[in-house]
């Protein structure tokens, strides 16, 4: 409940005017993601990441781009502590996750939503149960599950498919289901590894639209993608990797109105991509 209020507050804050300056001055919160000279060398000598330093602040929407094998997925895996960096520190919300004990790793992962190119859904569970599982894992009560799951499914537009199984959904629907699962317990950080890699452009817009909407509730979103066109249209911060190094880090968009609604956003991106299909992407 408290969390819901927080996200509600964040949403209104984002829509409304700027937040008062004294709030940020009083409590300088650590960035949600910070990498300090992170190097990952795989067994065999292949260099995944080389001296990568970067920081992502709360509420940002960041694209991570670069050619295949440049270290994007390695970076995501170090954030989830699926991989331990060979050198350097990875901090999530100011905390060095390299020092976490193996028992604490599940706690970390509960605070990070993840979306993957291959959806990674549980095939023998319904849409509803797939989302509910993320809550069952953290020991949520039944009433909490009954309340939050429909919310999350409504957010991604799957409210009418709760009883379907993943193999009865289209690719775009499966990906949106995976987004709903990642977001259902309102994590402060959401990582998406090639979320549109398997989807056609129009469906991709639908998924990006959902991610955009989630970002506007205050959740930091990091999206790994090959889809340069989509990145350029979205006009968000872009971090480019090549051969394990950061080669570009810029707030790519020159102008994005703060009060752009998700519908306006989708219409604009579709127009700019030359898709004049007015029906919703899902």
């Amino acid at each position: 409940m408290a969390r819901r209020q927080t996200s509600e507050a964040l949403r209104t804050r984002a829509r409304g005017t700027r937040r008062p300056d004294h709030v940020t001055e009083q409590r300088p919160r650590p960035p949600i993601v910070e990498l300090r000279r992170v190097t990952k060398i795989y067994p065999g000598g292949h260099v995944g990441l080389e001296h990568v330093s970067l920081r992502v602040d709360r509420g940002e929407f960041v694209f991570l781009v670069g050619p295949t094998g440049c270290g994007k997925t390695t970076l995501i895996k170090t954030l989830l502590r699926e991989l331990q960096p060979t050198e350097g520190e990875v901090l999530i919300a100011g905390r060095d996750i390299g020092s976490l004990s193996a028992k604490k790793v599940p706690q970390l992962r509960r605070r990070i939503g993840t979306v993957f190119q291959d959806y990674k859904l549980l095939p023998n569970r319904t849409v509803y149960d797939n989302v509910a599982y993320a809550l069952q894992v953290i020991g949520a009560s039944r009433s909490e599950i009954r309340k939050k799951v429909p919310d999350a499914l409504r957010l991604v537009g799957l409210a009418d498919k709760v009883k379907n199984y993943p193999d009865q959904l289209s690719g775009g629907e499966q990906q949106r289901l995976s987004v709903a699962r990642a977001f259902v317990n309102h994590p402060p950080l959401l990582l998406a590894d090639e979320p549109t890699g398997n989807l056609d452009p129009n469906t991709s817009v639908g998924v990006m639209q959902v991610l955009y909407r989630i970002n506007r509730t205050g959740t930091t979103v990091v999206v790994v993608t090959h889809d340069r066109e989509m990145v350029d249209k979205m006009r968000r911060r872009v971090i480019a990797l090549d051969a394990g190094r950061v080669v570009r880090d810029q707030a790519a968009g020159t102008y994005t109105p703060d009060d752009e609604s998700t519908r306006e956003f989708a219409r604009r991106v579709r127009e700019e991509m030359g898709i004049d299909d007015e029906r919703p992407a899902y």
């Binding site: 028992k103 023998n124 069952q136």
Partner: protein
């Protein structure tokens, strides 16, 4: 508490949603338990039988007949049985030899009765009828049982210690001959030891093979779901949170498999074994394990093995 039900529900859901691998696991468990259930009583009774055979091997000390004056006759001489006082004395002497467990006297008359019975059993009443009535040619004898087969040699040496000229001389002039069954005893002793070893090795191998088979089947069914485990880890499930439903599944597979096998065992027992009990000594050899306790042991083993099999196999996929 709610957690326990959640895990049970999850385990049952997995069984319901993907019945094929679980079915394979159940069949494997059932086959294994069936083999074990047959093997355990068979091993027990086989072991018991070899013990019985060993017990039956002993020394036979044949006595000379005596003439009217009470002197022992040479071999083949047919006279009277030695007087009871002398027989009694010799029996006490034999009894006093170390490692002798029991000494049983078989009189001339008893020997004749035993022979006639044996012949009658073989339907040779014609020979029985021709057995001489007054002059019984069969000698009286002692059956000497050692406490262990390996002590047979030392007992024999004690009955016929080397005399002055170095030749074995019996401790009593009444003793005509000591049945030299040492070769037989050695053979039987060797055979029973070999049988024990073979049975032990065969049952050991079978047990290992069956446990591996069960563990492997469970491995396969979990391997088929390793992606599922990966997803569970990604959303932040702890290892035990992932493991318990699999353990529940393993327990259920073990229980059902063992149940099926015990059903078949019971059927086999009532339909095949029980009717034959009176005809076959091997089957009817008393103190093999009772059916109820056998069933309990098998169920417990099956459930433990399947649950542990699931738990251990998962470790591979739960490494962080």
């Amino acid at each position: 508490m709610g957690r326990i039900f959640f895990f049970i529900r999850e385990g049952m859901r997995a069984l319901r949603r993907s019945p094929a691998p679980s079915f394979a696991a159940i069949i494997t468990v059932a086959a294994t338990v069936l083999v074990l259930g047959v093997l355990i009583p068979v091993l027990q009774s086989a072991n018991r039988k070899t013990n019985e055979v060993r017990d039956q091997v002993g020394l036979r000390v044949f006595l000379s007949d005596v003439n009217a004056a009470g002197q022992p006759l040479p071999t083949g001489g047919v006279g009277q049985q030695a007087p009871p006082a002398q027989v009694q004395e010799l029996q006490s002497k034999l009894q006093a030899i170390p490692h002798v467990q029991s000494v049983q006297f078989v009189s001339k008359d008893q020997a004749k009765t035993i022979l006639s019975q044996r012949l009658e059993n073989e339907n040779r009443q014609d020979i029985v009828a021709e057995l001489p009535g007054a002059h019984n040619p069969l000698p009286a004898s002692f059956n000497v049982q050692p406490d262990d087969l390996s002590n047979l040699g030392s007992i024999r040496a004690a009955i016929t210690p080397p005399g002055a000229n170095g030749k074995p001389t019996a401790i009593s002039p009444l003793i005509n001959d000591v049945n030299d069954s040492r070769d037989d005893a050695d053979k039987i002793s060797g055979a029973t030891t070999a049988i024990r070893w073979v049975l032990a090795v065969v049952s050991g191998l079978l047990l290992i093979a069956s446990l591996l088979l069960v563990a492997n089947t469970i491995r396969l069914s979990i391997y088929a779901r390793r992606r599922e485990v990966e997803v569970m880890r990604l959303v932040g499930a702890t290892n035990w949170f992932i493991r318990w439903p699999f353990m529940v599944e393993g327990l259920v597979c073990g229980l059902v498999g063992a149940g099926v096998a015990i059903g078949f065992l019971f059927l086999g027992k009532t339909v095949i074994v029980d009717p034959l009990k009176n005809n076959f000594n091997l089957i009817n050899s008393g103190d093999t394990i009772g059916f109820a306790s056998l069933a309990i042991v098998l169920v417990a083993v099956a459930m433990a093995v399947s649950a542990m099999g699931s738990g251990f196999t998962l470790r591979r996929f739960l490494r962080i």
